[in-house]
Structure formats: structure tokens, C-alpha cells
């Protein structure tokens, strides 16, 4: 197999706070191949956004990428690259699309100015050349009358238009990889579909790889060939998209899939995963999901599970891989039982 475009190995990003060390990302390994779209899913607090920011080394004090982490991009380890080298990669070889299209744009500059800035940074392009290129990019992202819109300020555009502007900024330098952090979360459903369609379209045209970070499994199903599920700062499951949806292995993934409301399904209570993601300063012993898990047993409370291979390209961080019969004995998760005891 050819070498992956991006290979993250044992990434650990810790925040050294007064309340202790928050292990937000704790030993994550993942690969993205050229031209591929990979989904990264998880609840808030699972560490997916910190993983994304770490890849571009955008973590600020008191956060730190710990020794031994490797982020190999096109053969170069970004974890140890100089700030100068990182600046040449950011926005140029790896670009990022942010969640909130309103706040990710500076309100005091026109959108054309902000798109053009990317070329000014990386190509030392003249003001005029950068502007021309910006208008071209805005046109590519399907913004009508791009010349006029380029002279608008962010507040004059709708959310969907602003997200197109952010995509134009990300694609300006034709990067190898785009990290899209919840690119559609802040948008209306109809606009969401348009934006995903646009991303797919541009990806095919430019052969860009996309790491799609989201908590929306619908977005994953729509766009990704492979999915990585994060929980508690770790990768808990990794599989081709169709496999993950058809036969999830990890109980957490199972729970996520069951929590999707379905149109037309018989009306019943929507399934939820009881409890919340524990604070990253105090991950539970053993499996980090054990107290929310309907299958947990003694072993899961003490022994931290490795990433088991459970199928072709399918990995799961769950002891059920070794004791599959336990899946037939679901019970009330520990958190829910504790709540009943307390009441």
C-alpha cells in the first residue's frame, strides 16, 4: 500500500491546568490517504476538535503536544517541525474549515480581502493578483456575482454564503488535506446538504483529502468512506463507513447509531447513551466507557482495552472482541444504577 498522506501516531495532547492534567487527546493514531474522506465522530469532549487543532499545532498554553507524539504529513513530522515550517504548511498544504462561519471571519474586512489574504501570505501575491484569485475561488464555491460579493462584509452574507467563503479560503492554495471541523453544524438542513455537495464536488476536482470532524453521523454517511470514532480522548472504533453502520462493534458506536432519530420509525422514546463524557482530568480506570456501557463486566473496570482488529479494516477498543458472548447479556449501565441508588 502507498504511504498515507497523513499519519498520526500516538498523539497525546495534554492541558496542564491548575485542576490537574487534562488528557484531552490520549494516544490517538489515525491515517488519512490521498484524496480520501475520513470521518472523525464523537460527542462534545471526546477530543476530536483538539485532535484537529493538534495536527496544525494550533494548541496554545496550557495545552501541549506531549513527547513521543508523531504527526507525519508528506514524510515530515509536524510534531517537531519549527513554527516557521508550520506556517508554510497551514493554509497552504493543510487547511481548516471552522464550525461557525460568522465568527471565523473578521467583521472589519471584506470577505474578498480575507480570501485574498491567504494568497498574500503564501505566495506573496500582489494585492491585485490575490484579489483576482479570491474572486475566482468565490466563483468556484458557487457564490453568485462573486465580484460584488467579494466587496461585502461578513455580516452582509447569509450563513451558507459565509461557509462558502470559508471553503474558498481553505481551497485557495489547493491544499492536500482539509480538516473540516463541524462545517455544517451551524447551518440549516437544506444549506447543509448544499455545502456537503460542494465539498464533495471540489474534492473530486482537486483530489483533496478531507478529515471530516462531526458529531452528525448523517454527515458521515453522506460523505465519508471510512469512519473513526473517538471517545474519552481515544480512538474506540475504526471501520469502513458501510461496515460501521451495518455492524458496529463498540457499544459506544452502537449507542451513537441508536440515538439517531429516524423519520417514519415507530414512535418510541429516542434511545440515549446514559451519562456524559467524563472530565478529561479523570478518565475512568479500565475501559473509559465502562460506566456508560450496557455490557460492562469486571474486566472492563480494570483492564484498559487495546484496539482489537475485528474485521477487514475494522478495529474496536472493546473487550467484547475477546468475549463476544457478553453481548447477549445487556444490563443497566453503572451510571444509571448509581443515579437510582442516589435517589
Amino acid at each position: 500500500m502507498t504511504e498515507p498522506l497523513l499519519s498520526v501516531e500516538n498523539l497525546r495532547t495534554y492541558f496542564h491546568t491548575r485542576d490537574g492534567v487534562a488528557r484531552a487527546v490520549d494516544g490517538v493514531s489515525l491515517q488519512v490517504n490521498r484524496g480520501e474522506t475520513v470521518g472523525l465522530v464523537g460527542e462534545s469532549g471526546s477530543g476530536k476538535s483538539v485532535t484537529a487543532l493538534s495536527m496544525l499545532r494550533l494548541i496554545r498554553h496550557p495545552g501541549r503536544i506531549e513527547q513521543g507524539s508523531r504527526i507525519v504529513f508528506e514524510g515530515k513530522d509536524l510534531a517537531t517541525a519549527s513554527e516557521e515550517e508550520m506556517r508554510k504548511i497551514r493554509g497552504n498544504r493543510i487547511a481548516m474549515i471552522f464550525q461557525e462561519p460568522m465568527t471565523a471571519l473578521n467583521p472589519v474586512f471584506t470577505v474578498g480581502d480575507q480570501v485574498a489574504e491567504v494568497a498574500r501570505i503564501h505566495e506573496r501575491a500582489s494585492r491585485r493578483a490575490a484579489w483576482r484569485k479570491a474572486v475566482e475561488m468565490l466563483a468556484l464555491t458557487g457564490i453568485p456575482s462573486p465580484e460584488a460579493r467579494a466587496r461585502d462584509y461578513p455580516h452582509q452574507l447569509s450563513g451558507g454564503m459565509r461557509q462558502r467563503v470559508l471553503i474558498a479560503m481553505a481551497l485557495m492554495m489547493r491544499p492536500e488535506l482539509i480538516i473540516a471541523d463541524e462545517p455544517t453544524t451551524a447551518l440549516d438542513v437544506t444549506i447543509q446538504a448544499q455545502i456537503l455537495e460542494l465539498l464533495r464536488d471540489l474534492q473530486q476536482r482537486f483530489g483533496t483529502a478531507i478529515l471530516m470532524i462531526t458529531h452528525d453521523l448523517g454527515v458521515i454517511a453522506e460523505t465519508c468512506s471510512r469512519v473513526i470514532v473517538m471517545y474519552g480522548g481515544e480512538v474506540v472504533e475504526q471501520a469502513p463507513t458501510n461496515v460501521l453502520f451495518a455492524a458496529p462493534h463498540h457499544p459506544y458506536t452502537e449507542g451513537l447509531l441508536r440515538a439517531i432519530p429516524r423519520v417514519g420509525a415507530i414512535r418510541e422514546r429516542l434511545a440515549v447513551i446514559p451519562g456524559t463524557v467524563p472530565p478529561p482530568t479523570h478518565w475512568p480506570d479500565g475501559c473509559r466507557f465502562h460506566d456508560r456501557c450496557p455490557y460492562s463486566w469486571e474486566r472492563t473496570e480494570h483492564e484498559h482495552p487495546p484496539l482489537y482488529q475485528v474485521g477487514e479494516g475494522h478495529f474496536s477498543r472493546c473487550h467484547l472482541a475477546e468475549e463476544p458472548e457478553r453481548r447477549n447479556q445487556p444490563h443497566t449501565p453503572l451510571v444509571a444504577r448509581r443515579r437510582v441508588d442516589a435517589a
Binding site: 487543532l53 498554553h61 497551514r90 471552522f98 471565523a104 473578521n106 472589519v108 491567504v118 462584509y153 479560503m169
Partner: protein, 281 residues
């Protein structure tokens, strides 16, 4: 600069009066050589015309050396305003730069810079300036401006740093970093506009503070040296005859008072305006 939201708060009468007064004062200071009825240093008749009360020949009266007080107040405005403007420009520039560096860098550097600043802030400015000024005997005007400027930036730095700390967490600042913008570009393009309003308020208040401080120093005899007129040293000379010739100290006092009140009114207006409104002009 660029288009920013229009000022929406209604212009109130106080602001109009303050702006009017300051404009007139500035004009008068610039045009002093043509406006002043007499030479501010001339002592035409030290026996016959000394301490003449306000009248047609001398609208503000004359002082103990028979000099025309109106002319001295007009020329004094030039010196007092120049000292205020230049010293404030220096201190706001220094304070903004220091605050931006500390606020954007964050972490250890911020901590160290802020502790140093705390040290500076612990020294009362008036005492610091008095020591500096009196240690050197009498200071030439540029040195006085320098001393006032170098001691006036601490609170500006503190304000700007607080604002920069907030601004650097904005999404578009992270986005700019993710696009590969250099620290300098981020600070000048994305952080600076966010600190302009507090910096402008600090500048305007600092200006009022500085002219009062200069007047105080001159009043104590360590600021602007006679015979050059400044509002402070005119008042100093007037205090000696306050019972017999009230006009010598009163007129510069009124002008100084009106200036400071006007400036503070303006500062309040800028503070309550929308963020970025000061970019307009």
C-alpha cells in the same frame, strides 16, 4: 480606514460643547501669534502697568511683571497642549505595543511582563516624575515630554493587554493562525482593531491627566521654566498675588479646567460608542 458601523449614539449637547471648546482652543493655540494682543514675554512698564485689572487694553489683566495675561494664556496653551499631545502619543504607543505583546503571547512571557508592569504601577507617578525632574535641576521641554510619556503608559498597557487576551481567543484569530498568518500579521490585522477603542479612551484620559500633571509640575516650579509661559507656571506666579490680583491665576485655571472637563466628556463618548467606531476618522 475602512467602513465600520456608523456611530449610532445621539450626539449630546455636552459632546458638542466640549468639541467646540477644544477646537477653539486648538485654533487659538495655533494662531496665538496673531491673536495675542501683546508679546507674552514683554514687560512694557514694570512699575506703572503691573497687576492691572482686566480692561480694554488687557482683557485678562497683567501680571506682576506687567505682562499681558491673555497673551500668556494663549502662548501657554501652545506649550501645555503640545506637552500633553506628544507625551500622550508616546505613552499610548508604548502601552499599546507592550499590552499587545503580553496579551497575544500569553503564557510565561505575559506573566513576566505583567509582573514588571505591576512593579511600575506600584510607584506613584507624581513622585516618580518629581524625582526624575528635580534630580536633573531644570529640564528642557523635550526632556519633560519624554519623562511624562515614559511614565504614562502603564495603565494603557494593562487595558490593551486585557483586551488582547479576549481578542486572541476569537474564532477568526484561530482561523488566521490556521491559514498560516504570522504573529505580526495576526496582531496588526486581527487583534489591533479590537484594542483601538480602549486605547483611544486611555489616550484621551491620559491626555487630560498629562496636562494636569504638567500644570502641577510647572506650578511647583519644576516643569516648564519661566519666562516661557505654561498654564501651570502662570498660576504659580498668580498665587503670590491671589488676594490683590485674582485674575492672574484665575484665567489660566479656568482654561485648564474647561479643557480637562471637555476632554473627559469626549472620552466618555468614545467609550460608550460602538466598538470600532473610532476607526471612522
Amino acid at each position: 480606514m475602512r467602513i465600520v458601523p456608523r456611530i449610532t449614539a445621539p450626539a449630546n449637547a455636552g459632546v458638542v460643547v466640549a468639541l467646540g471648546f477644544l477646537s477653539l482652543l486648538l485654533l487659538a493655540a495655533v494662531a496665538a501669534p496673531w491673536l495675542a494682543p501683546h508679546d507674552p514675554l514683554a514687560q512694557p512698564d514694570i512699575v506703572g502697568a503691573r497687576l492691572a485689572p482686566p480692561g480694554a487694553a488687557h482683557p485678562f489683566g497683567t501680571d506682576a511683571f506687567s505682562r499681558d495675561v491673555l497673551s500668556r494664556v494663549l502662548y501657554g496653551a501652545r506649550i501645555s497642549l503640545a506637552v500633553g499631545v506628544l507625551a500622550t502619543a508616546l505613552s499610548v504607543t508604548l502601552g499599546t505595543a507592550y499590552g499587545l505583546v503580553a496579551g497575544y503571547a500569553g503564557g510565561m512571557l505575559d506573566t513576566v511582563l505583567m509582573r514588571i508592569l505591576d512593579g511600575f504601577l506600584a510607584i506613584p507617578r507624581v513622585l516618580l516624575v518629581l524625582v526624575l525632574v528635580s534630580a536633573s535641576g531644570s529640564l528642557p521641554l523635550p526632556a519633560l515630554i519624554l519623562v511624562l510619556g515614559l511614565t504614562g503608559w502603564f495603565h494603557v498597557a494593562r487595558l490593551v493587554r486585557a483586551e488582547a487576551l479576549v481578542a486572541r481567543k476569537l474564532d477568526y484569530v484561530t482561523a488566521a493562525r490556521a491559514l498560516g498568518a504570522s504573529g505580526w500579521r495576526i496582531v496588526s490585522r486581527h487583534i489591533l482593531p479590537n484594542v483601538l477603542t480602549p486605547a483611544a479612551v486611555a489616550a484621551v484620559l491620559g491626555f487630560a491627566n498629562t496636562i494636569v500633571l504638567e500644570a502641577g509640575l510647572s506650578y511647583l516650579g519644576v516643569g516648564v521654566q519661566p519666562p516661557a509661559p505654561s498654564w501651570g507656571n502662570i498660576m504659580l506666579e498668580g498665587t503670590e498675588q491671589l488676594r490683590t490680583a485674582w485674575w492672574v491665576a484665575l484665567f489660566p485655571g479656568i482654561v485648564l479646567f474647561a479643557t480637562v472637563v471637555s476632554v473627559n466628556t469626549l472620552a466618555e463618548r468614545i467609550r460608550s460608542g460602538p466598538t470600532g467606531a473610532i476607526l471612522l476618522r
